[in-house]
Amino acid sequence: MLNILVYGAVTSAVYAMLAVGFTLIFGVARVLNLAHGAFYGLGAYSCYLLTGRLGWPLLPAALVAVLFVAAFGVAMERFLVRPLRHSALAVLMITIAVGLLFEQAMYLLFGSEARNVPAFSNATWSYAGLDVSGQRLLTLGFGIVIIGLLWLFINRTRLGSAILALSQDREGALYMGIPADRIYAVVMAISAAIAAAAGVLTAPFLTVQPTMDLLPMIKAFSIVIVGGLGSIPGSILAALLLGYSETIVAYAVSPAWTEIVSLVAVLLTLILRPAGLLGKRAAF
């Protein structure tokens, strides 16, 4: 029981970190970013490069990795996405190309074998017969803090309210002179940084491999569909829902069945409530 509670919370936190960025960039810029998983993977690999190959201490390595991925996201938005914005399909394709290039680049640079990234905490926390690694608890804590900060940023700052305005009423916001291009860049940076942070935090207990970007991305957009495209509270709710459902299925049935949870959740959402839990119904 306690197992499910704690592990479910960790999984949910990771999912939420992945999903909020994905849904934010879609809500604001209408970019369906299929390179989002690459941000996550790039975070983990940058951290591996700095600690494992260059011998940096973990904390600066982690910070530099996150900043690097944020800069990468901004550059991708500026040079690859923006010129193609006139066509939604072209934007989708370019983000796919970036995702593919990431996988191939990691494969060429570091090979296909799994890599190790050091953990912030090697302690194990035991309570009432439950053992949880400190890194997992740290991930949970960081996840809550990061999402809390994002919430404060969006609801309490001028830039945040501009982002919110743009995602709720694009035409109105553009008409009022909100500098859309600069906001897209900021949102891309935030989205990439959060995904990279998730990558750095989970790398010690998950596998760091060239194809590691795919599954998190599938999870991210399953959550985003269940929660409602473009809705941040929706994706947090859906992250909790999926995180716990998967953990419960893993304990009650078998870990093998967890992958089916998100597919069933996506299909059920699309059949029963296409706009998602907290999304607005798409109008004609």
Binding site: L92, I96, A97, L100, Q104, L215, L267, L270, A282
Partner: protein, 306 residues
Amino acid sequence: MRSRPWIFVPLVLAALAALPVIVKSEYLLGILSVCFIYGIWAASWDFMSGLTGRENFGHALFIGAGAYTSAFLNARFALNPWWGLPAGAAMAVLLALVIGFPTLRLRGPYFALAMLAAATIMQRLTLIFWQYSGGEEGIPGLDPLLNSKIGIYYLCLAALVLTTAALLLLARSHGGLLLRGIRGDEAACQAAGIDVTFYKIAALVVSAACAGMGGVLYAHYQEAVTPDVFSVALSISIIIMVYVGGIGTIYGPAVGAILLALLPELLRGLGQYRLWAYSVVLIFILFFAPGGLVAPLWRRAVGLAR
């Protein structure tokens, strides 16, 4: 003699048909057989997604469904591999309906995402339920559809030519016109009295059936099936082939697929950088040739001859 380049169509087909007589290399014939199968996949992707503008990011779902269905029937129940063709197509159609009904009536990227998710999850399932699906190793030891490499070459060539011709005819029919209307403006299509959901699902069903049969051909050509037939890399490769060929033209993607599938084989050593090369090609096309390469060049050739 109004449009001279049309002569090239029978000429190229005749050359391809005569190839096994001239070239005795089974290796080359094998490569070309696979290229033809890629052509079927790309043309069938284009029929649904190129015409209606609803991108399918998990075409491999249909390919894998066809391949694994046929492999099961052949390896587990010792059924004649030819039964795999209708069975594989039927399984692909079934999945198309399951995904298509909930997602294609919606606007937005739901269909694209659901296809991508479904294909990826199917790939995971083949690994998780390895007792039945053979896991990473897949299902080896399948019977080939024909016993000679030359026979398989002709089979794949015929399948490609027939599928492309049939899809082209459909695309130029009234139904195809409506599919292009859906790409133009769905709401306006409804205002013209057209049941857009029906046409989108019908197009997906046709596309899935062709892709599924392509998957069956592929499985029995390889005489094995592995989880890679469900991979995102395969789905994306097919889309890139369509882009190179010229989206929405059917024949362009078929030719583009053959060229792109052949390229890494011809340039030896490029094989392992295949996806890398494809993504570079894709970025080039997106920025510098949004209409693709094959179809615009062909149109220009036809136009010049007029």
